[in-house]
């Protein structure tokens, strides 16, 4: 993984010193809260319900065991012994003190981690496929370009005061595990006729109050032009994006208002003037960064097919986990292991400091010291020997990190909600807990098959509910919590936004509604198709009828 050189290290240390100064000025009254707020946001610090919340970047979801141990240390020393992994591959702490934040940021800088621009009206954490560099279906490792973009975006003097936040995601695989279609800029790697790797550039995707699927602004972009083209997109957005209404300020609004063709015209005009200038990415810089992403020293192994077959036949529980949470690796003899943070009844994405240390330890012993964070709020060990799977599984089970529900109904994506977040209208975690506890039968989960449930506590959609097979949105109705369901969303390469099922349901009715939807699906489905495919085939009526009956419930 990327290691800071002297310039990167100097930069982050200077940034910490700058923030220390800004905190001092704020506490001394030299900065008002209004003037200070964007500064602290651009260092990842929110003021939330209980205290300050610090959001720390995990760039493109890649973490070392050393960094994970530092996360545990921060949780223990400065917070309440746990952290929360988010839908943008970041980690959040909920009880942070402003006056301690410069020290925390220094601790993080010491292990090459930052909270720079994890919030604010600027370019946020660049996210990627959690299996990057390891998946069999991958064209190329996207992370080198994520790193190029990360450095480019940090304290960009022109784009630190955009109309609104700006999120970029990159996928190197045609199977999009990074949700690029619902990002402000989405990058999909393709090969052109000459077999060269380049990017399809999508723009104007996003969730929140007005969700949109991104549109292709450019079919193929050579990597050397990545920065100049992104700069052109950002410049047009910075100059023309709306600043009169924060709910209409994202790039998706302006792209859809003027149309993609017009936006492309403006970008291309801007790009013509800059494409061969100082932003061209030199081949040697790509090579330099690529060297950091070189694969580890794999042993020459064959696939351990016979061994695994025997182990799986002997142990039903291991079999389930191997089938569900283990993914094929491009190197023979190795496997990708998903570490589930979705045990029934737990808050999705939460992990205690002790377990962070334990995962760091497992990473060192089983996976070359590297950990990935998935936007689905699980962790991944990407380089596990197939022969070690059974031993690793036993250790994960003891830690309650082996729930075999990856991609299944109880692998819920859930924002922190009203329990933590000052933006929320309703609590989201109790819903996730109720649902996961209503569906604990592992055989049933596997029978139901691929199923994503996404829960957001408000319209900001940090739980990505628009792109869940079932999306659940918490709303406040006259002081009571109600939950609106949507069906048929998807964040992969066939992205779609969910359709509203009907009026909001009270909290107590949600698990039963899920049950009714699932039961209906199991009856209607053909040839073991996924729920999403059944939905796309039959539409919403059967499910509406199942949940609401023949009359619409007055909610």
């Amino acid at each position: 993984m990327y290691r800071y050189d002297e310039f990167d290290a100097r930069f982050v240390n200077e940034r910490v010193a700058q923030f220390r100064r800004q905190v001092k000025r704020r506490l001394a009254g030299e900065l008002t809260e209004d003037q200070f707020r964007p500064l602290r946001l651009m260092n990842g610090l929110y003021l939330q319900l209980h205290a300050y919340m610090l959001r720390v970047n995990v760039p493109y979801g890649t973490l070392s065991s050393k960094q994970m141990r530092k996360f545990a240390h921060i949780a223990r020393t400065y917070d309440r012994n746990f952290g929360h992994f988010t839908t943008r591959q970041n980690i959040q702490y909920n009880w942070i003190k402003l006056e301690e934040t410069p020290d925390i940021l220094q601790h993080l800088a010491d292990v090459e981690v930052t909270a720079i621009q994890s919030s604010g009206n600027c370019v946020r954490n660049i996210t990627a496929d959690q299996y990057a560099g390891r998946a069999k279906d991958e064209l190329a490792d996207p992370r080198v370009y994520c790193e190029v973009l990360r450095q480019y975006s940090f304290l960009h003097p022109e784009f630190s005061y955009l109309p609104r936040k700006f999120k970029i995601a990159v996928t190197g695989s045609p199977n999009d595990r990074a949700a690029v279609a619902v990002h402000d800029i989405g990058l999909r790697m393709h090969k052109n006729q000459q077999g060269e790797i380049g990017f399809e550039v999508l723009v104007g995707g996003g969730l929140g109050r007005t969700p949109y699927i991104g549109q292709t602004i450019r079919k193929w972009l050579a990597p050397e032009h990545l920065l100049s083209y992104v700069e052109a997109i950002l410049r047009v957005y910075n100059m023309l994006g709306r600043r009169d209404n924060i709910h209409k300020a994202r790039i998706k609004i302006i792209v859809n208002q003027m149309g993609i063709d017009k936006y492309r015209e403006l970008v291309d005009k801007e790009w013509e003037a800059t494409k061969d200038g100082a932003l061209k990415v030199p081949e040697e810089e790509i090579r330099r960064i690529n060297a950091y992403f070189a694969p580890p020293q794999y042993e020459r192994l064959g696939d351990a097919t016979d061994l695994l077959q025997r182990q799986r036949a002997a142990d039903r529980a291991f079999d389930r986990w191997a089938r569900g949470n283990v993914v094929e690796h491009k190197v023979p003899g190795y496997a990708i292991v998903n570490v589930s943070l979705k045990a029934p009844g737990k808050a999705p994405g939460d992990i205690t400091a002790d377990k962070m240390d334990a995962v760091a330890d497992l990473a060192d012993r089983y996976s070359f010291g590297e950990i990935r964070v998935s936007h689905r709020q699980n962790l991944v060990l990407v380089d596990v020997k197939q022969a070690d799977l059974h031993a690793l599984w036993r250790e994960l089970t003891a830690l309650e990190l082996a729930t075999p529900n990856l991609g299944l109904l109880s692998d819920i994506i859930c924002c922190p909600g009203l329990d933590f977040c000052s933006l929320a209208n309703a609590r989201s975690i109790p819903i996730a807990q109720d649902i996961s506890q209503a569906f604990t039968d592992l055989d049933e989960l596997q029978k139901i098959g691929q199923f994503t449930i996404n829960i957001s506590g408000c319209m900001n959609a940090c739980g990505h509910h628009h792109v869940g097979h079932i999306g659940i949105l918490g709303v406040d109705k006259r002081g009571e919590e109600f939950f609106q369901l949507t069906l048929g969303g998807s964040s992969d390469q066939h992205a779609s936004l969910g359709d509203r099922l009907g009026p909001g349901l009270p909290q107590a009715d949600v698990p039963a509604a899920i049950r009714k939807i699932v039961d209906t699906y199991l009856v209607i489905r053909q040839h073991n198709e996924r729920f999403l495919d059944t939905y796309r085939r039959v539409g919403i009526e059967p499910f509406k009828g199942a949940v609401y009956g023949s009359e619409t419930q007055a909610a």
Binding site: D5, F7, D8, R10, F11, E14, R15, A17, Q18, R21, Q22, L31, Q35, P38, L39, N121, Q151, Y152, F154, L155, H156, P157, E158, F159, S160, Y161, L162, R235, N238, M239, R243, A273, A278, L279, P282, E284, E285, R288
Partner: protein, 164 residues
């Protein structure tokens, strides 16, 4: 309001008439785009330096051809978080080769000075109790940066290759 120009406290040579109903008969003056377009011929006969003040919703593109007439362009930051002028500044310097005084006006504060310097501003109506101290503080915040702008300072990438 203190004016800092080229790193020093300065007295403003210009009168800002951009919001006034009457433009002073003589002397260096800053006008708005609307005033420029309405009184262009008259303004050009003054023989004293002219300045142009752009609001944050006014891109320099429509007046780019007129830039040779102006010794100064002032870009507004109505709120410090309205970041449009950063793009305008870069266009003025890097696209349109404007070499006159590029002045930041409006809510201009210490904590955004560094970005303004990098995007091409060289004069600031700084809201501060100690503007020179704030200016020097901002200048000293960073010794390394990633993005090339028109300021010519080497980026980390360039430094890696040996300072080219």
């Amino acid at each position: 309001m203190a004016l800092i120009k080229d790193g020093k406290l300065a007295t403003d040579a210009f009168v800002d008439a951009s919001a006034a109903t009457e433009i002073p008969a003589a002397g260096p003056v800053i006008v708005s785009v609307e005033q420029w377009q309405a009184q262009r011929a008259a303004l050009l006969t003054r023989g004293t330096p002219l300045g142009l003040r752009l609001r944050s919703d006014q891109s320099p593109e429509p007046i780019a051809a007129d830039l040779p007439h102006f010794a100064l362009v002032a870009l507004e930051f109505p709120k410090f978080r309205d970041g449009r002028a950063y793009s305008y500044a870069r266009l003025l310097r890097e696209r349109y080769q404007f070499n006159g005084e590029l002045r930041a006006v409006g809510e201009v504060l210490l904590e955004q000075l560094f970005f303004m310097l990098r995007t091409g501003f060289d004069a600031f109506e700084l809201q501060s109790a100690d503007p020179l101290r704030d200016y020097r503080t901002a200048l000293g915040d960073f010794s390394v940066w990633y993005q090339p702008t028109g300021d010519g300072r080497p980026t980390a990438m360039q430094l890696r290759r040996g300072g080219r």
